[in-house]
């Protein structure tokens, strides 16, 4: 597949994630939209990984591992995302315990 398709698809997903972050007030949903953004990145990385692999093959590097790093990076992103989710949800829950809401607009004691 042409790499452009993947790029545009990823960017579209990424932008949808951003729009979600911008349009929602629920902290959890916002967080989920960020996860969506991360997944868009993952998709793009995998696509690039295969693109570089193909390029390496075309260049004659038959046994090469070109492109594995992209997929491994996705792996690390997942690891980090998991860790983030742990911490993030903990924070959201802590917040909820205190103000019984997950609405980020309630968060305005700190301003100016």
């Amino acid at each position: 597949m042409p790499i452009n398709y993947y790029i545009f698809l990823s960017i579209a997903l990424f932008s949808i994630g951003i729009v979600g972050v911008l349009t929602r007030r629920n902290a959890i949903i916002i967080f989920m939209c960020v996860e969506l953004m991360l997944n868009a990145v993952n998709l793009m990385l995998v696509a690039f990984s295969k693109m570089h692999y193909k390029a390496a093959l075309l260049a004659g590097d038959v046994n090469g591992t070109a492109g594995t790093d992209g997929q491994l990076f996705v792996f690390f992103i997942m690891v980090v995302a998991a860790a983030e989710v742990t911490v993030g949800l903990a924070i959201i829950v802590m917040m909820y315990r205190n103000i019984h809401s997950v609405d980020v607009n309630f968060l305005n004691r700190l301003k100016h």
């Binding site: 597949m1 579209a12 932008s15 979600g20 911008l22 693109m51 742990t86």
Partner: protein, 166 residues
């Protein structure tokens, strides 16, 4: 148009549609579910790209573990349509327009790259197999791998600190 292309377009449409549903669903639970759909379609793309390991991990870790965690939390808080806070209409518009603009400029920027004619190899290529990836991960990438354990440790300590009752 071969089957791969058909699958590609199908998965793309599903992914985008479900992503849009994530951000537009009023009920948080639906959002989670649509997000899971999105993840599945992305996993489909992985499989299409012959990145089987990632496809599986994506489903297990993301759709399986993480999203369930989200679902748990949402259920725990008993969030639903009624409790879902809504932004002002024009704020939403502003957000959508801003995001749309970002999409536009990025697309505009990237549409003419010199790699636009390069292909991503689909259906073939072995690097996405767990054997290759595992070898790489435990040789070249062993240092980052170990480092990510520190990340987990700190996340764990953090979760304990935040979650522990005083």
């Amino acid at each position: 148009m071969n089957i791969t292309q058909i699958l590609f377009w199908f998965l793309s449409v599903v992914a985008i549609f479900s992503a849009l549903m994530v951000i537009t669903s009023k009920n948080p639970v639906y959002s989670v579910l649509w997000l899971i759909v999105t993840f599945f379609s992305i996993s489909g793309h992985y499989i299409l790209l012959n990145a089987q390991f990632l496809a599986i991990v994506n489903i297990i870790v993301y759709a399986g573990a993480i999203m369930v965690l989200f679902l748990f939390v949402i259920m725990l808080m008993n969030l639903n349509n009624e409790t879902e806070p809504q932004k002002h209409r024009w704020l939403k518009m502003a957000g959508a327009v801003a995001g749309g603009c970002l999409l536009l400029v990025m697309v505009a920027a990237l549409k003419d790259t010199d790699i636009k004619n390069q292909q991503a190899m689909v259906n073939e290529g072995t690097i996405g197999l767990i054997k290759n990836l595992g070898k790489e991960l435990f040789t070249t990438y062993v240092v980052p791998f170990e480092i990510s354990s520190i990340l987990f440790l700190s996340a764990m300590v953090g979760a304990v600190v935040i979650g522990k009752k005083e």
